[in-house]
């Protein structure tokens, strides 16, 4: 159908000519100079391992998840990671659902190569049991809006998401020290990935007869350019990967110039990512402090709940059994957790109704939605006897009825108490686990 012609980007001859002629006087259509990057904004979602990157008009969301799988035969003690791209037709009418287009595959490959070849992610630390169980990291990249230079934006989104991702901690426990325990995030702090360096992709476009070089091309410039080159570098200036696309040949000297510029830009972008990740982490730790606030009771029973969960794991999880049962089991836990969460929500609503006439500082709505508070008290809900259920609302009520200042003082003292309590417990437990872990790693057949 002739109507379908309109799906690709329609460029007028005027625009093509103008972009080229304006470049000759060293200016680009969006007012940038040839070697200016567009403004980059990195934001993070509420969950660990999710990022949203805006590069000018381009918008990409990155999301990282992990799963326990059997490792590849030739690399028995290395975890794996894979990149999945999603090009939504909302981003650009030329994107179609279904089979991934060439651009989608190329984008995934460039980012994958940058991370893999430079060994940016420490895959060996993702090993749980050599040859049996490793963490498989999945990076999802969703293109939300296409304003050009998707590669750079998607690469930054992937790096930002990887830097904030945390996987649950695994230890060996049980009577014979052979059972694998996956600690839920509210019992033990999840572990961040080990990332050695950040390989930043910087894309150049070559436009016009004179092959004028521009950095970070917009989608209009992409439609005009004869060729492009993506250099992946880290902040030290090490070249991790180079991708040269398009028919136009580029002389050696230009490539060297590109690399020099790219190393400067890579340092800039690395700083930006590191700063935003740092601010996210401080915000995250602040959130964590808050989440323990409501009552000390929660923390105490959280520990108890942990023991229970561990026991639960021990019963079901045998190292000798095949991996499929492990995975299905973790699914079960997930399902159970969700059920409990629902249950918890209902209970919260009930308590909200009960204490509806409380002080004005208490907001039942935000309380009901606060995921952290939910998660924190989740463990206590898992297996504690019913009388404890009653205790918690009481504690809450106490907090609620306290005036703001009073509660502040109260909280401070509580925080101090808490920081002492879980630490002593953990300190007592951790070294043994660690030793066991090491012993296991040594004794297990490789």
């Amino acid at each position: 159908m002739e109507q379908r012609v309109a799906t690709s980007l329609i460029m007028t001859l005027n625009e093509k000519k103008f972009i080229e002629s304006a470049l000759l006087s060293e200016i680009r259509v969006d007012g940038r100079r040839p070697f200016d990057y567009r403004t980059l904004t990195i934001t993070f979602g509420s969950e660990d391992g999710s990022s949203e990157v805006q590069l000018g008009q381009t918008q990409v969301i990155g999301f990282v998840t992990a799963q326990l799988v059997q490792p590849y035969r030739d690399r028995p003690n290395e975890g794996s990671f894979s990149i999945y791209t999603e090009f939504s037709p909302m981003a650009d009418p030329s994107f179609e659902t279904g089979r991934p287009t060439d651009i989608a595959i190329e984008l995934g490959r460039i980012i994958d190569r940058g991370l893999r070849e430079s060994r940016a992610v420490d895959t060996e630390s993702l090993c749980v049991i050599s040859g049996k169980l490793v963490w498989s990291i999945r990076i999802d990249l969703h293109i939300i809006d296409n304003g050009g230079n998707l590669v750079d934006a998607a690469n930054i989104a992937a790096l930002a998401a990887l830097s904030t991702f945390r996987r649950p901690e695994c230890t060996f426990g049980g009577e014979d020290g052979q059972q694998l325990i996956i600690h839920p995030p509210d019992v033990r702090e999840p572990l961040p990935l080990i990332i050695h360096h950040l390989p930043i992709a910087v894309t150049f476009g070559f436009i016009g007869k004179e092959n004028t070089m521009v950095i970070d091309p917009t989608h209009y410039e992409e439609a005009v350019m004869g060729g492009s080159m993506t250099a992946t570098l880290n902040t030290n200036g090490d070249v991790c990967a180079i991708q040269k696309a398009g028919g136009e040949g580029v002389p050696h000297s230009v490539i060297m110039q590109c690399l020099r510029i790219a190393s400067v830009k890579a340092a800039d972008i690395t700083n930006k990512i590191k700063n935003s990740v740092e601010s996210y982490n401080t915000e995250r730790s602040l959130r964590k402090v808050k989440r323990h606030n409501p009552s000390t009771v929660v923390v105490e029973f959280g520990q108890q709940g942990c023991g229970d969960v561990a026991k639960h794991h021990m019963e079901r999880l045998n190292l000798g059994s095949d991996e499929s049962s492990v995975i299905s089991h973790s699914d079960d836990v997930e399902l159970g957790r969700k059920l409990i969460e629902n249950d918890k929500m209902e209970k919260r609503n009930i308590t909200a109704k009960r204490f509806g006439g409380g002080t004005a500082t208490w907001d039942p709505y935000s309380r009901g939605v606060d995921g952290n508070a939910l998660r924190a008290s989740l463990a206590s809900r898992v297996a504690t006897p019913p009388e404890i259920h009653k205790e918690e609302p009481k504690q809450e009520k106490q907090n609620e009825t306290l005036s703001y200042q009073q509660s502040l003082v109260h909280e401070v003292t509580k925080i101090e108490l808490q920081t002492k309590q879980p630490k002593t417990l953990k300190d007592a437990v951790k070294p043994r686990h660690k030793r066991r872990n090491k012993l296991m790693a040594n004794s297990s057949p490789s």
Binding site: E2, Q3, V5, A6, I10, M11, T12, L13, N14, E15, K16, K17, F18, S21, A22, S25, I27, R28, V29, D30, G31
Partner: protein, 241 residues
């Protein structure tokens, strides 16, 4: 919605934000009157209701329509638009006007157009054209003549750069009194501009930097308030000198 009595006079809704489902007129209370409905409005028995979100507009004596800002354009007869030639057929040029379907520009729809002097347009030629016919289910029809069969200002636009905007921005660019940003820019700089109601505008000047400056200033001013626009322009124009 129940809070709004259907018998309220339309004046309460004029120049207000309306959403689909709002009843703006009750016909039972206004017998012996003729009203003309524009886009976004519908007659439901005795009432006139809104079909899309936007601002309700009214001009004397009796025209009502809903205005909103979109990325895409819904063609309607009489609009002046900027189109890009996508394909050439023996009878028609196929022109993209940002609508749901490509528009037809008959090869004879030019001043003094005959079979002998059919213009040659490459794919990608930018045209300033008028929508003659726009019906649902049919491709819109364009013309490069005004109603009197004169070329007027219609035809090919050479050089310059075409910027994409929302339909709302191009409407404000065409409004009278003139858009303050455009006026302020015009006092300092000399440039040509052609605005299509379909969310496109073309700027040309002797220097490419002027084109870029004007285009980006207009695009940026869309999200600014009147006061912010003033400050922004003052800063911008100071930098030029």
């Amino acid at each position: 919605m129940e809070a709004k009595p259907s018998s309220t006079s339309p004046s309460t809704f004029v120049d207000q934000l309306v959403v689909p489902g709002d009843v703006i007129l009750d016909l039972s209370s206004m017998a012996n009157q003729t009203i003309k409905l524009g886009g976004g409005l519908r007659q439901d028995g005795d009432s006139i209701s809104v079909m899309k979100a936007g601002t309700l507009r009214f001009t004397k004596p009796n025209k009502y329509w809903v205005e909103s800002s979109h990325k895409r354009y819904v063609p309607s007869a009489g609009d002046n638009v900027l189109g890009v030639v996508v394909d050439t057929k023996p009878e028609n040029f196929l022109v993209d006007i940002k609508g749901p379907a490509l528009a037809f520009l008959p090869v004879l729809a030019f001043e003094g157009g005959t079979r002998r002097n059919i213009p040659k347009f490459e794919v990608g030629t930018l045209l300033y054209v008028r929508v003659v016919n726009a019906n649902t289910g049919m491709n819109p029809e364009l013309s490069c003549m005004d109603a009197n069969g004169k070329a007027a200002e219609y035809g090919v636009l050479k050089e310059g750069y075409m910027f994409e905007s929302s339909t709302g921005l191009s409407r404000t660019l065409l409004s009278s009194p003139p858009y303050p940003v455009l006026e302020a820019l015009g006092k300092k700089l000399s440039f040509e501009i052609a605005v299509g109601i379909n969310g496109r505008f073309w700027v040309n000047a002797s220097q490419s930097s002027t084109v870029i400056l004007v285009g980006n200033a207009i695009l940026k001013s869309e999200s600014l308030s009147l006061v912010q626009q003033k400050i922004y322009l003052e800063k911008l124009l100071k930098n030029i000198q």
